[in-house]
Amino acid sequence: MEDTIAAIATATGEAAIGIVRLSGSQARPIAQEVFRAGKTKKRVRLKSHRVYYGSIVDPAREEPLDEVLLTYMQGPRSYTREDVVEVSCHGGPMPLRRVLGVMLKAGARLAQPGEFTQRAFRHGRIDLAQAEAVCDMIRAQSDEAANLALQQLEGTLSREITQLRHQLLGSLATIEVSIDFPDEDIDGHAGPPLVDDLTRMRERLQALLARAGEGRIIREGIRTAIVGKPNVGKSSLLNALLGQERAIVTPIAGTTRDLIEETVVQGGVALVLTDTAGIHLTEDAVEQEGVERARRALESSQLVLVVFDDSQGLTEEDKSLLSMIGSRRAVVLLNKSDLDIKKVDRDWLKAHVDNVPWLEISARTGEGLEELQRLIAQLFLGRSYESSARPLIASMRHAHCLERAHDSLKQALEALGREEVADIVSIDVREAIHALGEITGDSLEADIVDRIFQDFCLGK
């Protein structure tokens, strides 16, 4: 019997709807655990090949995460020939992640790259000639996931996790050495210091997870400010990138008064987009406040999308924006290309913004947005990327591993509290190290023996 796997199945951020897919013997019970039907908010017994409307909740708190359409397909009449559940979410990338999160909590395992297809193949759904293609896909997806994981892990997060794992190995070595070398007079046993150590590490994991929950640390994303004069189409651009009507769009200048923040995956990188109030001089106090915030958003951003209205031509206000970019990476967007009124002076642009690329786009028709994605990927990754949802999944994987590590430490501490014996405590500590090792790619078995001999003077 295969275990049940789960993953986000569509490229988020590009389609308005994302799909979380479950496959395996427990697909239906897991879905039933987290799905509440229609307006009644009740659990239901899912019937095969029907579409249900309702919401996904965190069963611990019955708190709805997203409105969804859910389909249950009993094997073998499904893609993988196992029981499959597909959940179409439309709340954007963050709710999608949370939906996947509760399914993992309910007992599913995060799928490896290509695992759905692999199962479909193994259950005879895909014919033999495709084996090679399946393998190519597994290779490509896992390489890309690994690359992205590396990029996301660069810097502080990676250091933090490596350090935590190192310390946990030290705690485990202390337990192991007392078991494997009972006659040695070594100081260090499963006493109070271990409780303190594990408690401290659990707190650090908790802090990491809290930040991961905000979507900031695990997949930090590029903080991106959309700036421009009123009415140039900033909110329209945000909506177009998100694939949904998130910000209010009107022909009235000064519609957006406050910052609107959303995460989207574009061209292989995640963008934390901030739509801002149009920057201009105004007497209106509320508007003024909005403008001030927009300025601050720009200053704290890593990427600036400067929007000009190509049907209007440049004003002094437009030009003054360029001076605010500073050394930040930026793209100038000449919006409303669908109107085909090229009023912005190209020669002036060439002369004054030679270090910033510019691009014609239409927030209304989507023209030029793909080019924009490529440009951003190039700016940040140094090479062009196929657009995909994978960074989200990779980061999901990390969050999931951190969560497992955290839960294992919690259980280890509970076991210590019940005065369980050293061997029992070690089970959960090992599990925590395993979980962190899945992020850093290290194996526990190789390291623990080394660690024992490094830390302790042993032997006859």
Binding site: D3, E115, R139, D180, I427, I452
Partner: protein, 623 residues
């Protein structure tokens, strides 16, 4: 070349701990077996301290015993002292250690071998393994005699190209002044088996009459003396061991003589084990530590020799003496044998299959230190499996390969052949990822039925095991179905102060509570009084640790799935182009026999495993 008149099924070269188990298993399974030894008087020699068992190692012995091997019984039969270690650290890591009378151990083993039907035993120096078209056909001895066989088990211990070093003196020899086997090492090299050089060491022995044991702490053995075999009953009083410590003076002596230590002068090239450092190593590496433990252990009933545990050294003999004299209680110690370091050749165990057969030489099995392991127990475990598998291959039966979730023996062999080893490999419980499932006292559950099936466990013992198993099942059933309703029992439960008693609660629920032990249970339900101890302890364990057992079972589940996927030996890794370069190269070299084994090779990623699975499916569908 003169040919002996007899053709054997299996020839075992060497009668150390691996060789003895291999020879006995082979003969007991009905194969005509010849065991060749360098010296008949050195069968089952324990050149280091004569202790058998301890964490990980005791587990191995229990498993050997469950499979029908003899090490456990012989240790019991020659026990001077025995202790159960780790009693406070968890039921799965508890381990028995038996200090043996080293001469008696040898005598008992020799008697076993000599009385074993179908087993011939002979003193001879093997100089060559005979092969024909990549298959083993027999061995040639130094006296020019050739013995034919279908399989050969090499269990040559540390004798290959052995060199013994004490201070500035070095000479070619096996341990305890034995002959070293040189021809064989060179021939193995010619067969294309890469050799590596390891080292190990031993402590000096002193005369019991020359040490002042009163100045040391007594380490008494347990009165109620347990054994590896259930039938064992202690008849003599256990011997004592003694604990003393090195002093600042000892360390000063060592430090001022480091220039004469072979380890530091470079006259030793071999890699030594980290878990068994010499005293000079310990003093250098952990220089903050003011003193190290030193145990004095008796070596037997008919000798005054005592082993000085903790003082392994290859310093010159006069320095060893000065060192000893700086240790409380040893001021007047007389050395009977100096400590020494020994260097020897061994094979890269990655050349072996999971059945311990050489991949490049059909019928050639290797077991023990020749595979880079160290320790009597590790050797015996491999010897047993090599012997079993040599016989099974003659009969064209599937080899016996134990899983990592099934036995420490499985962990040991899988580690050796999959990961190889950079130092003499010693078993540690830390190496077993499913430690809770691998208790010393459930070795019978795990392996005894297999031992019976192989013909190595007698009917009677198997019947005893079955009866225990039934009783355990029965008792578990009773505990979960018996509900407490009468006031008296409920009051007793309340009195334990482990939570409220509620009418209708089962005996199992009571036992589940922390701090409730079997004695408590017997008070509540007097009919439990008659239950045998081993049955009760099995039941208590299963109830108390159910949650953790289930957790480990779940972890094992995934492993099993991969372990069941066999990789055909002719699998073409080059045709599988999506494998990463590193994975492909390693897979080609190590030829893992299951996907599970492949997944443990460093450099083989989960994606490589997935690709392997798909390709194996494709092959299956094609055929």
């Amino acid at each position: 070349m003169a040919s002996s008149d007899k053709t054997y099924d299996v020839i075992v070269v060497g009668t150390g701990h691996a060789g003895c188990e291999a020879a006995l298993a082979s003969a007991r399974m009905g194969a005509k077996t010849l065991a060749l030894t360098l010296n008949l008087d050195n069968i089952a020699l324990m050149p280091c301290n004569p202790a058998i068992g301890g964490p990980g190692k005791g587990h191995l012995v229990a498993e050997i015993h469950a499979l029908g091997g003899v090490m456990g019984e012989i240790a019991d039969g020659s026990a001077l002292q025995s202790r159960v270690l780790n009693t406070g650290k968890g039921p799965a890591v508890q381990a028995l250690r038996v200090l043996c009378d080293k001469h008696r151990y040898q005598q008992l083993m020799r008697r076993r071998l000599e009385n074993q039907p179908l087993l011939d035993i002979k003193q001879a120096l093997v100089t060559e393994i005979l092969t024909d078209h990549g298959r083993v056909t027999g061995v040639l001895t130094a006296t020019g005699l050739c013995y034919r066989s279908h399989a050969v088990v090499l269990a040559t211990g540390v004798y290959l190209e052995a060199r013994v070093i004490t201070g500035e003196h070095a000479h070619r020899a096996g341990p305890n002044g034995q002959l070293a086997a040189g021809h064989l090492a060179r021939q193995l090299e010619r067969l294309g088996l890469p050799m590596r050089r390891f080292k190990t060491g031993t402590s000096p022995r002193v005369h019991a009459g020359s040490v002042d044991l009163d100045k040391m702490t007594v380490q008494p053995g347990e009165r109620e003396h347990p054994g590896f075999s259930a039938s064992w009953r202690q008849t003599t009083a256990p011997a004592d061991c003694y604990l003393t410590y090195t002093t600042a003076e000892t360390h000063a002596i060592i430090n001022s003589n480091l220039h004469r230590a072979p380890l530091y002068t470079g006259s030793i090239e071999g890699t030594g084990p980290r878990y068994c450092p010499s005293i000079e190593d310990k003093v250098v590496r952990f220089h903050d530590k003011e003193s190290h433990q030193v145990f004095l252990e008796p070596e037997g009933e008919f000798t005054q020799e005592m082993y000085v545990l903790g003082l392994s050294t290859s310093l010159p003999e006069e320095v060893q003496l000065a060192m000893l004299h700086s240790i409380p209680g040893c001021e007047r110690a007389k050395i009977m044998r100096p400590g020494y370091a020994i260097e020897y050749d061994c094979l890269d165990p990655q050349e072996m299959t999971p059945s311990l057969e050489c991949r490049s030489r059909a019928g050639l099995y290797c077991a023990g230190q020749i595979n880079g392991s160290s320790g009597y127990e590790e050797a015996a475990a491999q010897g047993l499996l090599a012997g079993i598998n040599a016989v099974r291959s003659l009969r064209e039966e599937e080899p016996v390969v134990l899983g990592r979730d099934q036995a420490y023996i499985g962990v040991l062999i899988d580690d050796l052949i999959t990961k190889g080893t950079d130092e003499p490999y010693r078993m540690l419980t830390a190496r077993a990822e499913y430690r809770l499932l691998l208790r010393q006292d459930n070795a019978d559950y795990r392996l005894l039925p297999l031992g019976f099936q192989l013909g190595l466990v007698e009917k009677e013992r198997y019947a005893q095991f079955c009866s225990k198993r039934d009783k355990v099942d029965d008792l578990l059933q009773r505990l979960s179905s018996r509900r407490l309703r009468d006031k008296e029992s409920l009051a007793l439960v309340e009195a334990m102060k482990q939570g409220r008693a509620h009418p209708g609660m089962t005996l199992e629920e009571v036992l589940l509570r922390p701090n409730v032990c079997w004695d408590d249970m017997q008070r509540i339900a007097p009919d439990l009084v008659g239950v045998e101890r081993d049955v009760a302890s099995e039941v208590v364990f299963r109830v108390k640790y159910r949650g953790y057992l289930e957790k480990q079972e779940r972890q094992v589940e995934r492993l099993r799935k991969l372990e069941h996927r066999k990789i055909p030996q002719d699998f073409d890794y080059d045709a599988t182009k999506n494998l990463s370069y590193e994975a492909r190269e390693k897979l080609k070299r190590l030829c893992p026999s299951t996907v599970g084994q492949a997944s443990r090779i460093s450099g083989v990623s989960p994606a490589d495993v997935a690709i392997l699975l798909v390709q194996l499916d494709a092959r299956n569908k094609q055929s």
